[in-house]
Symmetry: C2
Subunit: 331 residues, 2 copies
């Protein structure tokens, strides 16, 4: 009998996520039934949305069940198959969760070419985070050349792609990130025009200085003080893609005080979740894949080693300790 390790939600966090909210356990691998495949996961993706699932509060998805495998995107290799669409050795991405192995009926598995591009990229720039950036920029922000685009969490998996795509559109790209090291990376490596360190304590003034012509489009990943500081700088008819509110995931105040600029600058705002727009994924992933292959879209990864490291890596992600896409390497 094959066994594998998985991590389940042991308890719901009250405020900050703690290691004891998770439990690692060994479970027996069930035999794959008709049409099913067995996948050995090489990488687990850690993403901020998981924090929302850990709570019972109303969100855009149902809550993560207690004592069940934590939800999560995975990339791995087919090791047994009763499904004609998949052969042993195929590299696949899926949603098998925080687990070393999994059985799938194949419906949510996608075969990927891990020769051309590293497997881990399909969990980041060529996966959900990349598509999130692509959708928000192209479907909501729709920036024109010469416009100014602001993105928070600019060194992260989503934000880094947003700013680089904006530059490819001919925009001025401004990022917000935590700490000088991330800001240097955002400007020098990713090619943003400016990056503001929100930890410096002068966010509003720094933002105004970095956006002398105002802000035409905002990609908001964080919420709170940065979001509020951006509103007075928005130009008339500015567009806001609201993707995340990581600042409030542990219950902190997300209040917006500069509400009147939504009216006086005739802003539009759209909250979104990219998995509700799967029809656009083939187009978006095609464009993103070409850019990565051409070296026009860079990405950075923080890789934790082994499944047992996942809870701490996830807590680090929620506190901004990661640098780029947070992964867990399982093999």
């Amino acid at each position: 009998m094959t066994t594998y390790q998985r991590i389940v939600l042991a308890s719901r966090p009250r405020g900050a996520v703690l290691p004891e909210n998770f439990r690692i356990e060994s479970v027996a691998l069930s035999e794959p039934g008709a049409g099913e495949v067995v996948v050995r996961n090489h990488y687990l993706s850690l993403d901020p949305y998981m924090r929302g699932r850990m709570s019972e509060a109303k969100s855009y998805a149902s809550a993560q069940a207690l004592d069940e495998t934590m939800i999560g995107g995975t990339a791995g290799e087919v090791v047994a198959s009763n499904n004609s669409r998949f052969a042993v050795g195929d590299m696949v991405v899926g949603m098998l969760g925080w687990a070393e192995m999994g059985v799938s009926d194949g419906a949510l598995l996608r075969k990927v070419d891990a020769g051309r591009i590293p497997l881990s990229a399909y969990l980041g720039v060529l996966g959900m985070p990349g598509m999130t950036a692509w959708y928000g920029l192209n479907q909501i922000m729709r920036p024109k050349a010469g416009e100014t685009v602001l993105v928070s969490a600019a060194s992260g998996a989503v934000g880094s792609a947003v700013g680089q795509l904006a530059k490819l559109h001919g925009c001025r790209a401004i990022g917000i990130a935590g700490g000088p090291e991330k800001c240097v990376y955002v400007v020098d490596e990713l090619g943003f025009d400016a990056c503001i360190d929100y930890k410096a304590g002068t966010l509003a003034a720094d933002l105004a200085a970095a956006a002398p012509d105002g802000i035409d489009a905002l990609f908001e990943n964080v919420g709170g003080a940065g979001f509020d500081a951006a509103l007075p700088l928005m130009n008339p008819f500015g567009r806001i893609a609201l993707c995340g509110l990581i600042a409030g995931y542990n219950g902190a105040d997300l209040a917006l005080r500069n509400v009147r600029f939504l009216l006086t600058s005739r802003l539009s705002l759209q909250g979104f979740i990219v998995t509700e727009h799967l029809d656009l994924w083939p187009q978006g992933l095609g464009e993103l894949g070409a850019l990565v292959a051409d070296g026009k879209l860079k990405y950075r990864e923080t890789v934790a080693q082994g499944l047992a490291a996942a809870p701490d890596a996830f807590i680090g992600l929620l506190n901004g300790r990661n640098f780029g896409k947070q992964l867990v390497k399982l093999t």
Copy 2:
């Protein structure tokens, strides 16, 4: 020499608008030049947007100049004309401001048929307020039959039209208004399904009770506590037409705390000002006019008598003392 009375902005309000922010004065009527007409105003329109113009703060329009005639919509009669488009006796609406008379080049004058519908209606349901309701509902909220629509300042010139139009679309219409008398009017006369008295002090609970199926579209005129209480009740993919923030016009806190629902319910929000969409006015005014003529769209007016009453009437409007469209009758 003909003289007339006008009201100018004497000083900018610091917080609440006071009578001494205005000054009434007599001025000489200038002779109309080539292409110009002279209009005797019968009605002056008072509208919340004027409060924004009285401040120097950045808004969607330039500030009202000190010592100049207060901006405002007017309805009146042509009494002299050097313009072939207008004859003496024509009834016209325009933007001649807080004044008994005015000279216009005709560019912003619109001839109206005051036989079919009372002249004053062209400043309300068949003017800017009616178009504001029509635009927000049809271009931003786009409600489908069976959906629930919420509108604040529901007994006002804009809100009363929003709710009635929503009912004509087959929606459940909920209003928020100040005091039992207004709420009874909103339900019994205008035909809303429910109206919440924000002065009762149980706004959030009353709103939840009135919207058992949630809120699909919100027309926001007020901001502040009512807006914040509506956000958690919004259904996925809800639409918010942000038209006004009258609660904050005197500097009061407009903070929104329930920001996360913008994301988790994937809401869209659009701030707008209807005078930026003049291309749609012929269509909208045509539809509104037919509804008023058929008795399907009701309106109510509060009429102050004489130009000198305008400042007090305007202060009353900002404090919700009016009931329906606030006008000043000048003749």
